[in-house]
Subunit: 364 residues, 2 copies
């Protein structure tokens, strides 16, 4: 007889970007000497308005959070011009992936996505005793035609990271709309838009418009543009009946009260959002230019990170950078062993990375 | 074809204790005029040491939490005299219930617990497509003999809330040990000890001692005695192989970084723990005395709440108290419609409740 859930045998646990404190412990470097460009975090820190909101809330953390996060929901609904009944919040959008899988599929059903995409779709599907099928990228982009063809009677969910993590590529409006028209009525399409606010192209789909007429769930997060990754808060936008399902599945106190207060304030922090966008867009152009100068291959990105070719070995490059106190992300776990993923940092951080590149090249 | 997980049809969503802000909105009372004795929160606020630790951490919330919460784990392990490999942290112990069910059972397996216990065992089991079987309490106490007899080949998990929420009763050391000896080798017993630090009786089991020789998982929380309910952090203690399973199941960033910092500080806040215990124990005696004087039936409690008989209707009593600005918890959802659950508050809060009792009685 089995004591463990046998589905876990096929699960490879997620390996996170190396924390600064961990490298400090291991290397003897001080935290201030270390540059982390590994987890697509906001290099400008958290939204200052969010920090002030947390400070105000601190004395009340002995109380459970409002399990309906009423004030937060109202605020985000107004901002997105939606009804509050279309919103569901989660402990990061990670938790909402779990809720979506529990709510819109059953054990043995199939979850579809791409190879070389956010690893949690596969992990969470398998932990929930669902089958997971991954369709290869085509020129490092989601291949929606092949995904549509791969749908079977067992398929209930399709996850599309848009822009895709870790490639930075995206599905266009035309591609998304063509795809949605092909989807059977019992399948739900999830657009995971964690990097939505960094997109600077007109051909990106406005998925909020699909919620009414298609089985669509959109995931967004406060981790990236608002600089609140440590607090864990994301949300889903979908039609009210679907939101009700997610609310039945999620735990009542899934979002901590400081995260709720911070998100409610951050969403009004236009100045911080603008400052972050400008930094990322400017530094992205700067890095592209430098990469072209140096002769480094990279994939143009719609997000705040860039996939960079460092063949023959992603992990060797990662290790060399680590010795210089720079944490990037090796891509072997994503099936992209020739690449690393670089989070766009402040100008100084990016310069340090470029300097590191030079050092590594010279040592060859 | 079904688009939703059909298991959800049998799930009654959890209804949380009414938040102060919600009553304020509905009643026109100010938040300061409202007394909440509904959710077993610490009436003294959060641990002051925890609050200071959060303040120090605030500037870094743009970074993801350490997915191994190394520093926190080391601290708690030392405090409990355990190896760090025996500990797993969660987004409240609620999330760990979900992890335990996913890790130690499969869809279609059976989860066993009591009637009139923490509602999340049933909800989370069902959301995960597991079967749930509830054994009636015996004189408002867990009936471990009947639970042992109810174990079938499909049973994988037994949840024991100890002390039990909402009755405040507990399973003794002798009962627990007799029970563990009867459990088949493929069944895991979970002792949910959220109220452990409020127990003032010598016959309570020291379950940490069972971890080595039995299939036992212990759940603890920072929500109650440490006053951190809003932050969401709990932990599991179990043998290393079991902890590894839970770490595979849980999400990498399940615990937010402020909660981790707060918990790490709170566990050293002996003064706050002592102050809280003294308040609760003193006020419990005070309330018992008053209830006897007034002629109100109550169940002696090993926790920071008291189950009180208010027949014929829990919900009517709840509504009357609400009009007085006092939030208690009706017990219909727990199958105890003659009772309310009163969280022990500060002396002033308890006096206000007693005053409310008088007002309601006089109006009859």
């Amino acid at each position: 007889m089995n004591i463990y859930n046998r589905a876990l045998k096929t699960v490879t646990p997620y390996v996170a970007g190396k924390p600064i404190e961990e490298l400090a412990r291991e290397s003897g470097l001080s935290a201030k000497q270390i540059i982390k460009l590994a987890s697509n975090e906001n290099p400008l820190g958290p939204s200052p308005m969010a920090v002030r909101a947390i400070e105000k809330q601190l004395a009340g953390i002995n109380r459970y959070p409002d399990s309906n996060y009423y004030e937060l929901k109202k605020k985000v609904a107004t901002k997105l011009n939606l009804g509050i009944e279309s919103l569901v919040f989660g402990n990061g959008s990670d938790e909402l992936i779990d809720c979506v899988i529990k709510g819109f599929s059953e054990p043995g059903n199939e979850v579809l996505s791409a190879k070389s995409t956010f690893l949690e779709y596969e992990i969470i599907a398998k932990v929930n005793n669902r089958k997971f099928k991954a369709i290869g990228l085509k020129r490092l982009r989601y291949d929606l035609d092949s995904i549509a063809k791969a749908i079977t009677k067992k398929t209930r969910l399709v996850f599309i990271a848009n822009p895709n993590n870790p490639t930075g590529t995206y599905v266009t409006k035309n591609e998304a709309e063509k795809f949605l028209k092909k989807i059977p009525s019992e399948v739900v399409v999830v657009f995971d838009e964690a990097y939505n606010e960094f997109v600077d192209t007109g051909s990106f789909p406005d998925t909020l418009k699909y919620v009414k007429n298609y089985n669509v769930i959109i995931l967004r997060t406060f981790s990236k543009i608002y600089g609140l990754a440590g607090l864990r808060i994301g949300f889903a936008v979908t039609r009210p009946e679907f939101a009700e399902v997610l609310n039945t599945v999620r735990q009542p106190f899934n979002v901590n009260s400081l995260a709720a207060a911070a998100a409610q304030a951050a969403i009004d922090d236009y100045e911080f959002v603008k400052k972050t966008q400008e930094l990322i867009w400017q530094e992205k152009e700067f890095l592209y230019k430098k990469f072209i100068e140096i002769g480094i291959k990279f994939i143009p990105s719609a997000a705040n990170f860039i996939l960079i070719e460092v063949a023959p070995s992603s992990e060797a490059f990662f290790a060399k950078m680590l010795k210089l106190g720079i944490i990037v992300r090796g891509m072997s776990a994503y099936g992209l062993k020739d690449y690393i993923r670089l989070t766009i940092g402040t100008h100084d951080e990016n310069l340090a990375f470029l300097e590191g590149l030079k050092t590594i090249k010279e040592k060859k």
